[in-house]
Amino acid sequence: MPSLKDVQDKIVGVKKTAQITSAMNMVASAKLRGAQDKMENFRPYADKFNEAMSNLSGGGNTDQFPLMEVRDVKNVEMVIVTSDRGLCGSFNANIVKLAEKKMREYEAEGKTVSFVCVGKKGNQSLKKTGKVRTQFLDIMSDFQMYNAREIAQDVATNFLTGKTDKVEVLFGHFKSVAVQRPEAQDMLPITPMEEEEGAEEKQAVGDYIYEPSTEEIMDVMQPLYLNVIIYNAMLQVGASEHAARMTAMDNATNACKDIVSDLTLVYNKARQAAVTGELMDIVGGAEALKG
């Protein structure tokens, strides 16, 4: 039987932990709102951008753009976007797991794999593979478009110099507050957008005045498109991180409450045992005096 004092100390300790986890939950939910707003704000830009991209790729052939060049794939690069901070359940671990799975698959096909880590957590886990080419750390808490641009430029340079033949982005897709799923998206070479609208759309495209030529516009837009992909992945991870942390902290708070109620039971039992023991002593003493 643990002593009364021990149990009491433990209850106080667990209650304090619960206080911290529930505070973290609230902080995460506030930050989630911010991250979701940021995602909402980006949507019009992304939508318009994709629209213009698909309008443009209708004309002209793809071979002339170095960023669209399809080569025999020997070297694959994966951009792993994770959060900088932990305590968010299995969120980062799931992304890393997907990265490792893909790495094994590619290596089984005889391809070499390298990683670009965005966010500390992915870097910590993948460092040991020795395949991390470069990393961008401590930017996930407050990133802007120029952070995404820096990453996209680095990756694109590597692709253009022929060091990599294919680039994928791995990130945590923010499906809802409850569901975040690790996902891989092809980034390079850029695949032409599909035309779903058909002939009518094409007609409208033909009427545009382009300044300068479509080719030159594509040269400007393609790097921007890479920025959009990276920025989007970062936004998704930013929101997912907070959502995952909310869930994790909620679970932790509930676990703390369970432990406290268990411990309270133990405490009450121990106290009752002590009271009974004392009573027995007193009664025993009184009996002895009488006799």
Partner: protein, 137 residues
């Protein structure tokens, strides 16, 4: 009332402008261009510089950095990396950025550093556009 064209300026951080205006002037690839109502469909890349637009007697200007613009159906959309109103610009900061960029350009010229030169050049252009925008508003 004269005919108007709908202007939208969209950045990754959200829409900055969405209103009907009389005329838009913007820094295009081949030089500044102006767009009035019912312009033909048009697509151009945008350089760092000043976007100005007029509504009656109101004249406003924004500093914008690289992207592109599209005109269609009497609507002009700018997709740019950043857009700031002249009144929102911190002139001191822009001035300092200008000096910094000039210093770096001088250094780059001395050491023949290619990549940094491109970056410093862009930084200088942004700073100059900011200073210009802040003077108009």
């Amino acid at each position: 009332m004269a005919q108007q064209i709908h202007l939208e300026v969209v950045t990754p951080a959200g829409a900055v402008v969405s209103e009907d205006v009389d005329i838009v002037n913007a820094p295009g690839y081949g030089g500044d261009f102006g767009v009035l109502a019912n312009h033909a469909p048009f697509l151009s890349t945008i350089k760092i510089g000043l976007l100005t637009y007029e509504q009656g007697k109101d004249r406003k200007s924004l500093m914008i950095s690289g992207g592109f613009s599209e005109v269609s159906n009497n609507k002009i959309t700018f997709l740019v990396e950043s857009a700031e109103f002249g009144s929102e610009i911190n002139v001191d900061r822009a001035m300092k950025a200008k000096e910094r960029a000039e210093k770096r350009l001088a250094q780059a010229a001395a050491h023949d550093g290619n990549f940094n030169q491109v970056r410093a050049e862009a930084a200088l252009q942004r700073a100059l556009a900011r200073i210009k925008a802040s003077k108009i508003d």
